[in-house]
Every structure is written in structure tokens, then in C-alpha cells.
Symmetry: C2
Subunit: 345 residues, 2 copies
């Protein structure tokens, strides 16, 4: 089925013009591997040839009169920098919203994903149809229904765009390789703030342990790699979406989490009690572990906050609060956090 | 080997600020495939699940007071939209250069590449080390030497960035699927100009036959899929980089090439006589076939020009003239062509 989209007028009615001082793309980090043998000029044989891979790909925009600390945005599983761009229903995403608010914005494609596709290892994930599984796991509803009040457009074209945001891993997912790419960005740009999502949340925790230039973390629904001091990790948490395992490091390393402000946001439709619904139940244990992790960091003098959005009266959010219909309200929360912590000077 | 880049101050000294009216990303075209069976809610099994794939991914920026016809940029083999962004040595690429010249700019990632990575078919290309083969085929020099006067930075960091521009195919390369993605963009945005590179040149010729909204083509070193009227295709052209084959279509369809202005640019170091050097010899036959193709279109009343840059005194260009050290001069040529054909109103 070929989809030809005539659709709405394009481009949409002009928005407020946006003035930027600089925009650029570049790679950071990564490795170089060499195939055994010797390269012979004119040859197509891999012998002696190199592969530059496992870097992160960065797209940055810097506004005029930028605030001091840039924002670096890291996507989750199956996604790339586009996560933060135009929403599936065509509104501005966090990239442009925060650029307008005078933040320098760096979008990261983690190693082996999207624009950072050149991997030094062959991909291992088979191609599997899973749009409907994502739909449920990303909490729009139970396919093909929508949760009551869900903050996602009912336009079928928006859902089509949404499914097309996905990209495959072009090499094995490796939290250390991904975190090294994120850390390398901060080597280049200096102090800044990491904004992460889902699987990227866990990559971000690993990056914080590598990179003191990460001065704060804002994480939307972090979903993996919660790192506890050795001996303090909670037992694996079973859910109908699988078991969630914590990770342990030496307490001296764990201390790094206590040095920066961290906030995590979780959306709606996450049950309090175990549910047979895989797509929501897996978030129940993630929210539970996020709370335990916040307590573990705060016991040692840290500054970690967990915000379950419905508990502050913000309802209908999916796994992607920053691109949901109320994403300006979600951005306002983030701006308020940055102001409260004096991170927006 | 982990590369940590401290390098030059970042961001670089402020450039002239850039004011844009709108920026957005979205997908166009593509297909939906369905795995046999019936989807059961909460299931991870592929049965009955869909895959939205084979679309093109678009990143657009529209300047204030934009010229009427937008520019849509299509990359070549192994590349994605980044081809047109920041150069490997950190200068502005055609994306920003032409945005500053008040052109609306659409960067295309063709289906199964980069940000359009979700394919409905599994990838078929094995992971093979080939940096050095690309280096020679892209005509920087014969590894590890550089051609005398080559318009590519001698900074090792630039070469590192250059190699990291590559991304794999995430599904089989299919000229028709790629051209359908390009055509779908023009369904959305209406009349515009296609700017293509290398393998994308051939995708572009196929797109022209599908899409009358493509009002002109500017192609840098088109390298495949030269389409002749049935019975007029030249014999396969042997080179030390393989044989180049022309493609044939019915003359009525071929006529479409006569309706729009087309210009092709080729760079330096392309031999006039057969050479044992694979990396340059394969371009010899492509330039030869481009000339034959221009004659074939022009015989029927078309307007096709081939510019071999050294013949107009511009030397040192690699396979990527638009990102070479003299890319502003190359952009000026393109602007002059657009003005001459009244395409820049």
C-alpha cells in the first residue's frame, strides 16, 4: 500500500520567526576498527580497511543570546533525535520550543541508531512487525482503542507519522557504547544538561558516571539501568511486561548522582497494582524503581525528584509527554525546574 | 580505540544570525505491511502486527521571505541528509548556505537510510570495512595520499568526521522505492527543485518520471540509472570500477526529461582515458554517460547541461563539490543557474 499524502496546506501558517546564531551537525566519540590484513590501493577487499563507527550523531542549534547551559536531548529505544522534533501531529517539539526559550539545543542520535548508524558490529535484531506492541507499550491505549482522555491526536495521519518515527538498531544496543557517545558530546561542549527519554534514561545514568560536565538530568519515563550502590539494589521487579533488574556500582561511584539535580517525569495510565496489561504494567515497576532510586540518592544527600504527572493534576500523558498534545505545559514544568535550580541563567 | 575530542572551541565564533519562519521534520510516502495472523492485545508476537516503513524522512527549514520554489536535497550511496549539512571540517553546507540565500530547504533521507531507517524488508548488505575504498572512490586521493590541490581539509579530524558521515542501508537499496519517497515529498510541498548527489542522481531521474512537480534538477556527479529512450541506450561502459549500464524506458515517458532544465556537475581527477585506478575510472564512464544522456535529451528539445568543473577553471573538487573547501564557489554556480532559468523568483 503506497500512501500518498496531499493533506493539509504546507508549510502551515507562519509561526513566530526564529533567529538562530549557529546550527551544525557533527559526530562525537566512537571507535575505529581495522579489518585484518593490508589495504591495497584500488581494492574493494576489506583487508586492512577501517570502519569509523559507534559515534553519536549530533544536530545542534544555538539561539541568539543563548542561556549558559545547553540542553542535550537523548531519545529512547527504537527512536533517534527526531523524538524531540516536530510532533506526529505537526506541532513544535521540544527542540524548537526550547530554542525559542533561548536554550542551545543538541539532539543526540545514539551510536548505532539513525544518523549514527555506522556500527562496528553487525546488527542482531531481526526485522519484526511490532507497531501494535509499541502502541500499547507507549500507552496510547489498547490497540486499536485509545485510553480515555489520552493526549494524542485522533487523526489517523498523526498515528501514521508516529509509527514512522521508529528506526532499527544498526548494531547491538550496548549501554556503555551509547553512554560513551553521550559523554563525548559533553567533552566537546562543556557543562550542560541532559534531557533523556525511556531507554535513554538508563543510558543517561551511565553517562553521568562517566562525565562530570553533565550538570543536571531531566528524564522522561526512564525505563532501564537504574544504578544503586552495591548491596542496596532492590530485588528484580516482576511485571506482566517482564522483570526489571537494577544495576549496582561501588558506592564511591554512586556518589556522583548526589552532586547534580535530577528530575524524572512519568505520565498517565500507569497502574498502582499489578495488571495483566503488558504495555502499562511494565511502567508500574519502572515508576516503582525510579522512586526507590530517588530515595537511595537522596539518602546520601542527593536532589532527585520523581513527578508522577497525574498526581499534580496533569492527565492523559503517554510515554512521550514532551510530544503529547499538552507538551507546552510539560515544557513549562521543565522550564520551572530549570529556573528553580538556577540552571537557566 | 575511543576517540575523545576536546578540539577547537565550541561553538565557533558567531556567524551572521539566521532567521527562519518555520522548521519541521516529517515522513512522506512509504508502505504498510502486515504480518500474517491476528494481533492479540498485550502480545509481543508479530502476528497481525504492522510495519510502517519505506517512507522518506524530511527535515525542512523555511526562511523568512522565501523564494517560491523550494530546494529538495537528495544524498547518495552510504549517506543521508547530513550530506548537505555541516562539512567534515566544520563549515556551513548547502543546507544553511541556501537557507541564507532565502531558499526553502528540504533534506531527504531516502527510504531505508538514516532517519528513514524503518524498512519493510530486512537488510541484505553485510557489514564490511571500506573507509579506504570510499576515500578513493570519493576522490580525495589514493589512500593514504591526497591528490595535489584537492579541495579537502588536511586536518585529520575532518577526515574522521568524513568517515562518520556514512550510514548503512537498513533494507535493500531499491531505486523505485527511493524514487517513490522523493516523489511523495513533492506531493506534499508542490512544485520545487531537486538537488541530487551520486546514487541519488539516478534516484532523481526515476523520480522525475513519477513526479511532474519536480521543476528542475541540479545533480552533483550522478552515478547510476541514466534513463534513455528504448533503443537508444548506449552499450554497457566498462571501467576498472565495473561496468556502467544504462536503463531504457518508452520514448513517451522519456519526453518528461525534456520539459525541465537539468544541470549536472562533475569534479576533478576524472581521467579522459581508461585508468587502472578504480576510484577515479568509474567516474570516467559516468561522466561519459552523462554527456550521452544530455545529448539524448537535448536532441528531443530538452535543456540539459553537463559542467565538468575543471573545464571552467574550477579544480580540486572531489565527489562532493558542495562540501569541498570551495563550496561557496560551487553554490554560486548553482545560484547563477537558478537565476538564469528564473527558478529563484
Amino acid at each position: 500500500m503506497q500512501t500518498m499524502k496531499q493533506g493539509a496546506p504546507w508549510p502551515p501558517a507562519t509561526m513566530e520567526p526564529l533567529t538562530i546564531a549557529h546550527q551544525a551537525t557533527f559526530s562525537v566519540g566512537g571507535t575505529v576498527t581495522t579489518h585484518p590484513g593490508t589495504f591495497t590501493t584500488h581494492s574493494m577487499d576489506p583487508a586492512g580497511q577501517t570502519t569509523h563507527g559507534d559515534h553519536a550523531f549530533i544536530a545542534c542549534q544555538i539561539p541568539v543570546d543563548a542561556r549558559r547551559l545547553p540542553l542535550a536531548f537523548l531519545h529512547g529505544d527504537g527512536q533517534f533525535g527526531r523524538t524531540w522534533q516536530t510532533t506526529a501531529d505537526g506541532r513544535e517539539g521540544f527542540q524548537t520550543i526550547f530554542l525559542r526559550r533561548r536554550h542551545s539545543v543538541y539532539l543526540i542520535d545514539q551510536p548505532r541508531r539513525g544518523g549514527a548508524g555506522q556500527s562496528t558490529l553487525a546488527p542482531t535484531q531481526p526485522l519484526v512487525a511490532k507497531d501494535q506492541a509499541w502502541y500499547e507499550q507507549f500507552r496510547i491505549g489498547l490497540w486499536p482503542e485509545r485510553f480515555p482522555g489520552v493526549q494524542f491526536s485522533g487523526d489517523p495521519e498523526a498515528l501514521d507519522q508516529y509509527f514512522r518515527h521508529m528506526v532499527p538498531n544498526t548494531g547491538p544496543f550496548d549501554v556503555d557504547v551509547a553512554a560513551s557517545g553521550v559523554a563525548a558530546l559533553f567533552d566537546k561542549i562543556g557543562p550542560g544538561i541532559l534531557v533523556s527519554h525511556s531507554q535513554g534514561g538508563g543510558v543517561g545514568w551511565a553517562a553521568v558516571l562517566k562525565q562530570p560536565e553533565i550538570r543536571a538530568v531531566i528524564s522522561y519515563e526512564p525505563g532501564s539501568n537504574f544504578i544503586f550502590p552495591r548491596g542496596e539494589a532492590p530485588a528484580p521487579m516482576p511485571s506482566s511486561g517482564g522483570e526489571l533488574h537494577a544495576v549496582e556500582v561501588e558506592p564511591e561511584l554512586f556518589e556522583r548522582f548526589t552532586r547534580i539535580p535530577i528530575i524524572m517525569y512519568y505520565g498517565d495510565y500507569i497502574p498502582e497494582q499489578p495488571s495483566p496489561n503488558r504495555g502499562v504494567d511494565l511502567w508500574r515497576v519502572r515508576l516503582d524503581m525510579a522512586r526507590l532510586w530517588a530515595e537511595a540518592v537522596n539518602r546520601r544527600g542527593g536532589d532527585v525528584t520523581v513527578v508522577h504527572l497525574p498526581s499534580i493534576g496533569i492527565t492523559g500523558n503517554t510515554h512521550f509527554p514532551f510530544s503529547d498534545l499538552n507538551n507546552v505545559e510539560i515544557a513549562d514544568l521543565m522550564s520551572a525546574f530549570l529556573a528553580e535550580k538556577h540552571l537557566d541563567l
